[in-house]
């Protein structure tokens, strides 16, 4: 009798606790929704000025992980323009830690109505049912690069429209290039030529080619050798292939020869820093390097060329992210219409102008090259770019791979790749269970 009484009371307390938690969670998202940036407030104001009412019964909450003010303002402007056109209010919030804020949103059942989804996280979100598959509602799916569409296709459905993308290319310091007696004819198109020019450019404490010692750069050499990380059907890890061993051995040999170096080895945080601080004459980076060069290293003159072909032909890696719409949002139609607007050729070219991203639609390629003739190599590389590994559970495998790559100079390429193969296969097997 007494025991039951105590039990009931405890349960009551627990229930009260949970109720309180839920209330708090609701408060939390309500607060952050209201506390958007001043630019977001202006958006609301302009819509009210237009005298229209929200069609979907409430305002759209857009969460982005912005690279800086330029990007935040550009997205703000674009969303405001859409609001004016459609009559649906929308506010843009910039997350300080996107992954963390999204996790909180999904767990509380009140995620933002539209958000940046990284390719790394995409499969996890799709697999646990968080994402609304809206690919079939888009009017111009065929205009997206097919490789980007495949990146965001899960179980045969396109879940998420590619927002923009980047490819890796070779960045060359033009002053060093001419100082070493090299001409346009010497731009490397094979590994041998790359090794030769890197050796020529290595002098007085400066290394020929420096890049971050991680899969997201070295993977480009795998692609050039004709290798992959995961088989085409996504079921088998093929990391320890002879092609990949050949590629990793090439990188290792060049490092030991002194012509290549990891950025960390020359005291830089990433390839762009090594290149910008003139510790290397070449680097391998994506088009995001343009911002760093303009703002931090304006004195360095450079040009961008596609990565040289390896034994398996041309190859590079590409990175992308997409516009995610959560299942738990009640504004699917409005969000899809906003995605249509944001991924249109015209709007993507505006984004490119504002903060330098590459449009995810093929019809914008010509426009991008016109805007940025110096970055044509990045767009041209899209034709032979390989997606990076983003399978669910692979991010731990990749960080383990990166940890092993740090001691590549003294490591055994075959042993490294074999251990990664085992781990990646284990992650893939677990996803199928």
């Amino acid at each position: 009798m007494n025991a039951t009484h105590v039990m009931t009371r405890r349960l009551g307390l627990l229930a009260a606790g949970f109720a309180g938690l839920l209330a708090l969670a609701a408060c939390g998202s309500g607060f952050s929704g209201g506390g958007s940036t001043s630019a977001g407030g202006a958006t609301g104001g302009s819509t009210a000025g237009g005298g229209s009412t929200a069609a979907g019964g409430g305002s759209l909450d857009v969460l982005i992980g912005s690279s800086g003010d330029a990007e935040t303002n550009a997205v703000d402007d674009a969303v405001a323009a859409w609001s004016q056109q459609s009559g649906t209010q929308a506010t843009v919030r910039n997350a300080s830690n996107l992954v963390q804020e999204l996790s909180q949103g999904f767990a509380s059942g009140q995620p933002p109505d539209l958000f940046y989804a990284s390719a790394d996280q995409f499969e996890g979100y799709a697999a646990n049912g968080s994402l609304f598959a809206y690919g079939d509602q888009l009017s111009a799916v065929s205009d997206f690069y097919p490789s980007l569409v495949s990146q965001f296709t899960f179980d045969g459905k396109l879940y998420c429209a590619p927002k923009d993308f980047s490819t890796l290319a070779l960045i060359i310091n033009t002053d060093d290039w001419t100082a070493a007696g090299l001409t346009d004819a010497d731009v490397p198109t094979t590994w041998d030529q790359l090794a030769t020019v890197a050796k020529k450019l290595t002098s007085n404490g400066r290394v020929g080619l420096a890049f971050s010692g991680e899969y997201a750069r070295i993977g480009a050499f795998f692609a050039e050798a004709g290798g992959r990380m995961i088989s085409e059907d996504g079921k088998t890890a093929v990391v320890a292939s002879p092609e990949n061993v050949q590629a990793l051995t090439f990188v290792k040999d060049q490092i030991n020869a002194g012509s290549f170096a990891f950025a960390s080895a020359v005291g830089a945080g990433w390839g762009g820093e090594a290149f910008g601080t003139h510790k290397s004459s070449m680097t391998i980076e994506g088009n995001w390097i343009a911002g760093a060069m303009t703002h931090d290293y304006p004195d360095i003159k450079y040009r961008v060329v596609p990565l040289p072909a390896g034994p398996g032909g041309k190859g590079t890696l590409q990175f992308t992210n997409c516009w995610g719409i959560p299942t738990d949002s009640d504004q699917h139609d409005a969000a899809v219409s906003l995605v249509e607007f944001l991924t249109s050729t015209e709007q993507q070219l505006k984004f490119a102008q504002a903060f330098g991203v590459m449009p995810s639609v093929q019809s914008a390629a010509a426009g991008f090259k016109e805007q940025f003739p110096q970055f044509a190599a990045f767009v041209d590389s899209a034709g032979f770019a390989q997606n990076v590994v983003t399978a669910q559970g692979s991010s731990a495998v990749i960080s383990d791979f990166n940890a092993q790559l740090e001691s590549l100079a003294s490591g055994d390429p075959q042993a490294i790749l074999t251990s990664v193969q085992t781990n990646l296969q284990a992650a893939l097997d677990q996803n199928r269970k």
Binding site: F18, F106, G267, N402, A403, E406, A427
Partner: protein, 364 residues
């Protein structure tokens, strides 16, 4: 009041009522705290415990009916699976164990020495030194981490100073090589004996367990000692000031040298404080997270990955919520075990009668 009740019965009733009233008042006063602790500590901990036994994938409430109980699967993969999850846990435990081994003794000794120094009666500028030593403790660990990243960069201040004495400093936060491996390398041992390389624990070979803290982790160890010594100095200082001056003077009259007085009087009387400091130090060291999150994110070569960071990484970045929660509870168990062991080690031991006046042995 009942007319037939005897005075004794009345007294008992009154007492009983007043006890009930006292209880009610007690509960009323503690209720806000009980609710707060329940809401923000007990409920989240219980939910995390449930998540570690479930297949919750991060969507909706972990208590939703769609979330399945999976028994010890998460713990099994973590501790016995033998895959990447196990070796990651082994690596992070290795890193943190070395961190504890270096940080806890040094911070205890240094804070005790600092406290004794700033406690001296005849010292000038006492207030200045007390503030100066305590200052790193009040600064946010994120700010100090950023400072550390600059100080210990390849061309940073530390390496410049080392350069003056002709030592070419390492590229601290980029260097994954273990300190013990480096020392063995100096002795000519570069490759592990098969007994160490071929066997191991938690997917990590004994040779790797013996690697010692990496050069990057060493920078964090120095930082931990730098930032926490001030806090613990304050604890020791409070304890020192509660030791009566008379005892010290009595020992002085008996002819004890300053060193003897410190060893035989001060330190034994600080014993409860030492226990507190070591316990707090142990717990703090096993929970190290901010520095890693801001500074290195587990790199280089995973050598600064700690269980606390691994738990975060598994949950938020890998969306393996069950595994992340399981790591957190493994860490909880480790902290409890270490604390109990440490308390057992420092327990009050009854002395044999003949040694009662000579706690550290009969002087010869």
């Amino acid at each position: 009041m009942n007319a037939d009740a005897t005075p004794a019965v009345r007294r008992t009733r009154r007492r009983r009522r007043s006890v009930t009233q006292h209880n009610a008042a007690g509960w009323a006063f503690t209720l806000p705290m009980v609710v707060l602790v329940g809401l923000f500590v007990a409920v989240p901990v219980l939910m995390a415990l449930w998540v570690s036994f479930s297949d919750w994938a991060g969507r909706g409430s972990p208590l939703a009916p769609s979330v399945q109980f999976v028994g010890v699967r998460n713990y099994d993969q973590l501790l016995l699976g033998g895959g990447l999850a196990t070796s990651d846990l082994g690596t992070s435990l290795r890193n943190n164990l070395w961190y504890v081994i270096f940080v806890v003794p040094s911070q205890t000794v240094i804070s005790l020495v600092l406290a004794v120094m700033v406690n001296r009666r005849l010292m000038r500028g006492k207030a200045f030194f007390r503030t100066a030593y305590y200052f790193p403790s009040v600064t946010s660990s994120v700010a100090i981490t950023v400072l550390w990243l600059f100080l210990f960069s390849a061309t940073g201040a530390i390496n410049k100073v080392l350069g003056w004495v002709g030592w070419h400093g390492p590229n601290w936060f980029q260097d994954p090589s273990g300190v013990m491996h480096l020392l063995l390398g100096k002795l000519g041992v570069h490759t592990p004996p098969d007994a160490l390389a071929g066997h191991g624990f938690l997917g990590t070979s004994w040779w790797q367990w013996l690697a010692g803290p990496s050069v990057a982790m060493t920078a964090f160890i120095l930082m931990a000692v730098f930032t926490t010594s001030g806090t613990f100095m304050l604890l020791f200082l409070a304890a020192l000031q509660s030791i009566s001056q008379d005892i010290d003077e009595a020992a002085e009259v008996d002819g004890a040298s300053p060193r003897q007085r410190f060893r035989l009087i001060t330190v034994p009387m600080l014993r409860p404080t030492v226990t507190t400091v070591v316990t707090l130090g142990l717990i703090g060291c096993w929970q190290v997270f901010d520095q890693i999150y801001t500074g290195t994110q587990g790199g280089p070569g995973k050598t600064t990955q700690t269980p606390a960071y691994l738990s975060y990484d598994a949950a938020f970045n890998n969306q393996q919520w069950g595994r992340g929660a399981a790591v957190a509870f493994v860490l909880f168990a480790i902290i409890v075990v270490f604390t109990l062991f440490q308390r057992w080690l420092q327990r009050e031991r009854p002395l044999p009668r003949r040694l009662r006046f000579y706690p550290t042995g009969v002087p010869r």
